[in-house]
């Protein structure tokens, strides 16, 4: 989830304050930076039912969850979304919808409002129709603009989320200008993180350091110009800074994600780590999974940390960084995140950045998120 932890000001005291429900991995778009699993199509038949999701919501509230994001895939694909929002609102959740805007008709928007939905995070990839449509692999731009207009017209607070990569990073200024015209209160430039589809396409998607610095300059210019009327969230991605992110505020600290098939995880990417025992709410109680399961206890707290983290003054700030990134780039999830300049594997990240800078390189086509686009046979068993 790109909206990691900004705004949080209370320590979870062991409670999963932030709940993400991945209602489905179905989606009409084919984004090449999607963070859903490569074998996303296998989940459609295993999705939790409306009643099963309601049970998850009750259990999470009992554990102290407060903020709730309905995400996916595209959550609008679930026809019971309105019913689930109403149920969650009744339990006392602050309900957020994270959507591409596809399927968000005025009728459904009104139903969501009546159900108590508080906020909508809408993704938009560019300010230009041909570019957006090419990036998401569908005629989506016009539908997204219409969704944005409707969201504002019906008085929802809106976070506009622009996933940022090489192809659209130069449009950040244009995007802010467009959003300011629409009255968007909050815009998030989510420098994409490289897992699953995004990792497959990393060499083509990664911007150069120069592009990232220029984007930061543009953002700061707009921040000064717009003042308090718009909050602009932009952070330099971890690959470039030599500092790891405090991923999910620590493993099993405040975040709880439930996948379409009911598997509960400390973050949306955790399934990339082999050897972990994943438990579904269909077999185990959410309370047991959160408090007791080997999965959530594995990297919780600071006791498991390797060197150089153990003797590092910043361990309580970043908790050793991201476990999934450690796995994907060093082969071991228990290593220090290689985004950290003190990691013995930091050269892997430096090489990725250097590879982007190389003037003469062979460009590969982007692999669009689609069933069968890559073989996932190796993931079986």
């Amino acid at each position: 989830m790109p909206t990691e932890t900004h705004g949080i000001s209370l320590d979870g005291q062991g409670k999963p304050l932030w709940l993400s429900l991945e209602l489905t991995y179905r989606c009409p778009l084919k984004c090449t930076w999607c963070n859903n699993p490569l074998d996303f199509e296998d989940y459609a038949a295993k999705e939790l039912s409306t009643d099963e999701w309601k049970q998850v919501l009750r259990a999470a509230r009992e554990l102290g969850a407060l903020q709730l994001g309905f995400t996916g895939g595209e959550p609008m694909q679930r026809q019971d979304l309105e019913e689930l929002v109403a149920y969650a609102d009744g339990l006392g959740f602050y309900t957020n919808l994270i959507t591409s805007g596809i399927g968000l008709s005025e009728e459904r928007l009104l139903a969501l409002k009546a159900a108590g939905l508080k906020q909508i995070q809408l993704s938009l990839q560019s300010t230009r129709a041909d570019m957006t449509d090419a990036l998401v692999g569908a005629r989506a731009h016009a539908l997204k603009l219409e969704a944005a207009r409707l969201i504002k017209a019906h008085g929802f607070p809106m976070v506009l989320n622009m996933p940022v990569f090489r192809h659209n990073i130069a449009l950040i200024g244009e995007m802010i200008e467009w959003a300011a015209g629409l009255g968007v209160e909050y815009i998030e430039f989510a420098n994409i993180q490289y897992y699953n589809w995004a990792l497959l396409n990393r060499d083509e998607l990664m911007p150069t350091l120069e592009q990232v610095r220029e984007a930061e300059r543009v953002v700061n210019e707009w921040r000064a110009k717009l003042g308090k009327s718009m909050t602009i969230y932009f952070v330099i991605p971890d690959y470039y800074e030599g500092r790891p992110k405090a991923c999910m505020n620590g493993w099993g600290a405040i975040h709880l994600t439930v996948a379409p098939d009911g598997v509960a995880m400390p973050c949306q990417e955790a399934r990339v780590i082999p050897g972990l025992e994943f438990e579904s709410v269909r077999e185990r109680s959410l309370a047991w999974i959160w408090h007791e399961s080997p999965l959530f206890r594995k990297y919780r707290g600071l006791d498991w940390l390797p060197e150089p983290c153990v003797s590092c003054a910043e361990k309580e700030k970043d908790f050793g960084g991201c476990r999934c990134q450690a796995l994907l780039l060093t082969g071991n999830a228990a290593n220090t995140d290689p985004a950290c300049s003190r990691s013995p594997h930091h050269h892997v990240v430096q090489q990725a950045v250097a590879g982007v800078e190389a003037p003469l390189r062979f460009r590969k086509p982007l692999i669009k998120r689609a069933a069968g686009a890559v073989s996932t046979a190796f993931m079986e068993g």
Partner: protein, 96 residues
């Protein structure tokens, strides 16, 4: 911050899209809003509970003073004004 202090006759109320309520699991008042949540200490909770767009800052001060020993009157007045200004600056409250 650079925001001017609210006058005593301003009627602060919660900003749209903010939810203020008691949360049993935290044994505290909390504030929920897009992208965030805040646990309030008891005095902040008592002040926010009175920011209903009807009461003026002056009324809120008098209200809370009435519930506490007279010796704390000045401290309460100062505390309420400081908190209301901060809450406006952070966007939690708006002056109606």
């Amino acid at each position: 911050m650079d925001t001017a202090p609210l006058p005593a006759d301003a009627r602060p109320r919660l900003s749209p899209h903010y939810v203020f309520r008691w949360e049993e699991s935290q044994s505290a008042f909390i504030l929920l809003y897009p992208e965030g949540l805040i646990k309030l200490n008891p005095s902040a909770g008592a002040i926010l509970a009175r920011c209903d767009g009807a009461r003026t800052v002056g009324t809120i001060v008098a209200d809370l003073q009435a519930a506490c020993p007279a010796a704390q009157a000045a401290e309460i007045a100062e505390g309420v004004r400081a908190f209301v200004d901060l809450a406006c600056d952070k966007g939690w409250l708006r002056a109606a």
